[in-house]
């Protein structure tokens, strides 16, 4: 089993009366692309801030790369690349000089690395322009280059596609997939469900600072696999299926039924209906999207 790169136990952060993060226990195995999914205000940025030592936790412990962090995060932080919200750089310096400065204070890499990163994020042509002349998309791309300085083992990315146009989002997501292919661990905090679904292998869904669901993305979606069917007599089929003990629920939908049951029991459903003289005209297993799942589990959070 892969070692955990990030582990938190009972991590809590309160801002006065506001509980930004509450008793959070997370484990992010090495080499995983891990999603922190939650609506705005769920505590994603606070969690990343505490991992980076920028925000002091009220309680709980953090282990990075197997070592417990007690406020002294500097050595661990040098092995991390991070973006938090909209990247902030020195406005009077060029993109290249900003990267040179941050590379310099991290004590890693050299000029070739900066050229390569600028090439990777498509900023070579504007590398010598002042940062305050950059568009939002260019700022984000510079942020990604910044995060990749020193070839970090762990990437903590907080809303890395915020404000990007659809093409930019697609490029960044592809880049994240490529970056996550090797041993590198990525923690992606986002409120964009399709982003997390496309990029991440595992996900923790946050609500009001607590994890309300966690697991592999495929598992979380699989938990809500359903069977869509239409029959010659939907009313009879509804009554019949609702009485089966392995069926959780049956919902009448427009022109059919949505049965909450394991998808491997499609044949059992067909048999039970046939025995009662009701015949399926359509029968198929369907997966809910992560978005549907997210909306269900965070239903109580919405006003």
């Amino acid at each position: 089993m892969a070692a955990n790169v990030v582990e938190t136990a009972g991590l809590t952060k309160h801002y006065g009366e506001v509980r930004a993060v509450q008793d959070l226990s997370l484990e992010v195995p090495k080499g995983t692309v891990f999603g922190l999914l939650g609506p705005n205000g769920a505590g994603k940025t606070t969690i990343i801030g505490t991992l980076l030592g920028l925000i002091r936790p009220t309680a709980g412990t953090i282990r990075l790369f197997g070592t417990e962090i007690n406020g002294a995060t500097d050595a661990a932080v040098r092995r991390i690349g991070a973006i938090m919200e909209t990247p902030a750089f020195y406005p009077f310096m060029s993109g290249r000089d900003n990267l040179r400065y941050f590379q310099g204070i991290s004590g890693t890499g050299g000029p070739a690395e900066i050229d390569n990163l600028l090439e990777l994020v498509g900023l070579s042509a504007r590398a010598n322009a002042r940062f305050n002349t950059y568009s939002l998309g260019m700022k984000h791309r510079l942020g990604i280059a910044y995060a990749l300085l020193g070839d970090p083992e762990l990437l903590l990315l907080d809303e890395p596609t915020n404000g990007l146009d659809p093409n930019g989002m697609a490029e960044v997501r592809q880049l994240l997939k490529d970056l996550g292919d090797g041993d590198r661990t990525i923690v992606l905090a986002s409120h964009l469900l399709n982003e997390v679904e496309q990029v991440c292998e595992r996900v923790a869904i946050l609500s009001k600072g607590s994890v309300i669901a966690e697991g592999a993305v495929s598992e979380l979606i699989g938990r809500r696999d359903r069977i869509q069917l239409s029959t010659t007599d939907n009313v009879a089929a509804h009554r019949l299926l609702a009485a089966l003990d392995w069926v959780s629920s049956v919902l009448a939908t427009d022109g059919g039924l949505l049965v909450d049951a394991p998808t491997e029991r499609v044949a059992d459903i067909s048999e039970a209906l046939a025995r009662a003289g009701v015949y399926p005209t359509e029968l198929r297993a369907t997966s809910t999207s992560l978005e549907q799942f997210f909306l269900e589990v965070t239903e109580g959070d919405r006003p």
Partner: protein, 360 residues
């Protein structure tokens, strides 16, 4: 990551800020102007005919005007007065009185010229320019500190920098050390400008020479510069503390600059007057005891006084409004105390406080 490497990269960043160079240029220009002004004044006064300044005294008033223009230089050189304005006659001249008055006037002019000469020749030029620029250097230091520390919060770059692991203590220490070093270097540049300007102006004023320029004269100049530099240290700490304190507010940088600079000038120009105002007022005697331990008052004593006495021949020292300052040792210790306390608070707050995004 060594401190030196971090300092090197801080300098890499700092040198790109145009406003710092503009301020430094202003300070350097100001130090040159502080030498050029007495030179110009000297040239203007030296060329003046003394007859503009003095008079002859008639032995008895004939009309209301008892003083009439006279060329004292010529009169004292023995050139007889051959003409006096009507209705006076040559017999009306009070020769001993006129002689005495002419000598007084000439002595006053010579004294003034000597003072002006001292203002643009070495070592006096350096001493005087240092005092004046000392007054400006503290607001400059405070502003520089706020720019170096507060801007990181305003732009949100503090978070970006700390995410690369330089460490909070080290990051702030290097910044403040860089400010202190930058001002020390600035002082040396200013000294070079003062010396050069003094050499040029002294050469232009062909009839004057420099004062005695031995090791002790230069020692005094260096000591004065050291005093001004040390006076800035508590204000670096104060400006850093205010920058961190106001970091969560939009406009926090502006507020920190305004407060640290305003605090300096307010205390500098109000405490001496308040001491005078409350002197002898029953129930207000505590005021002078309390301000003995005030930062601004002790900074004024350190910059504009020597061993408790206002600097002789330095107009600002009297403009501050006091006849007595705290002594040098007392002022040094009070400034050291404030530097330690304010600096300690700044570091503690910088270390403790959560770092969030841009504050505007």
């Amino acid at each position: 990551m060594s401190w030196v490497t971090l300092a090197k990269w801080e300098w890499f960043k700092l040198r790109g800020r145009r406003v710092i160079w503009v301020l430094l240029a202003l300070l350097v220009a100001f130090s040159a102007v502080m030498v050029v002004i007495p030179y110009g004044d000297y040239e203007f006064n030296r060329g003046r005919d003394v007859s503009d300044e003095v008079i002859f005294l008639p032995s008895a008033p004939v009309i209301g005007n008892q003083e009439v223009d006279l060329n004292c230089t010529e009169f004292l050189a023995g050139v007889p007065i051959t003409e006096v304005p009507a209705p006076y006659t040559l017999d009306d001249i009070d020769l001993p009185g006129t002689d005495r008055k002419c000598r007084q006037e000439l002595a006053a002019i010579e004294g003034r010229l000597a003072k002006l000469k001292d203002g643009f020749t070495m070592p006096g030029a350096a001493a005087k320019a240092t005092r004046w620029t000392g007054l400006l250097s503290i607001p400059f230091l405070a502003f520089l500190t706020v720019m170096v520390v507060g801007s990181e919060y305003g732009w949100g770059t503090l978070r970006t920098a700390l995410m690369k692991g330089p460490g909070r203590w080290r990051f702030l220490s290097v910044k403040l050390a860089l400010v202190a070093a930058a001002i020390a270097v600035t002082w040396l540049v200013m000294l070079a400008v003062i010396i050069t300007t003094s050499l040029v102006t002294t050469a232009l004023a062909s009839d004057v020479g420099h004062g005695e320029l031995d090791a002790s004269a230069y020692g005094l100049i260096i000591r004065d510069i050291g005093r001004v530099w040390f006076a800035g240290v508590p204000y670096i700490a104060l400006a850093a503390l205010l920058s961190i304190l106001f970091s969560r507010f939009a406009g926090g940088t502006l507020a920190a600059s305004a407060l640290s600079i305003g605090y300096f000038f307010f205390e500098l120009f109000s405490i001496g007057r308040l001491i005078k105002l409350f002197d002898g007022v029953t129930g207000m005697r505590w005021f002078s005891s309390v301000v003995e331990y005030d930062l601004g008052w002790n900074t004024a004593a350190w910059l504009f006084g020597r061993d408790g006495e206002p600097l002789a021949g330095f107009n600002l020292a009297s403009a501050i409004g006091t006849a007595q300052y705290p002594g040098d040792v007392h002022a040094f210790l009070v400034q050291l105390f404030f530097a330690a306390v304010l600096g300690g608070l700044a570091f503690w707050l910088f270390h403790r406080r959560d770092v969030t995004g841009p504050s505007g």
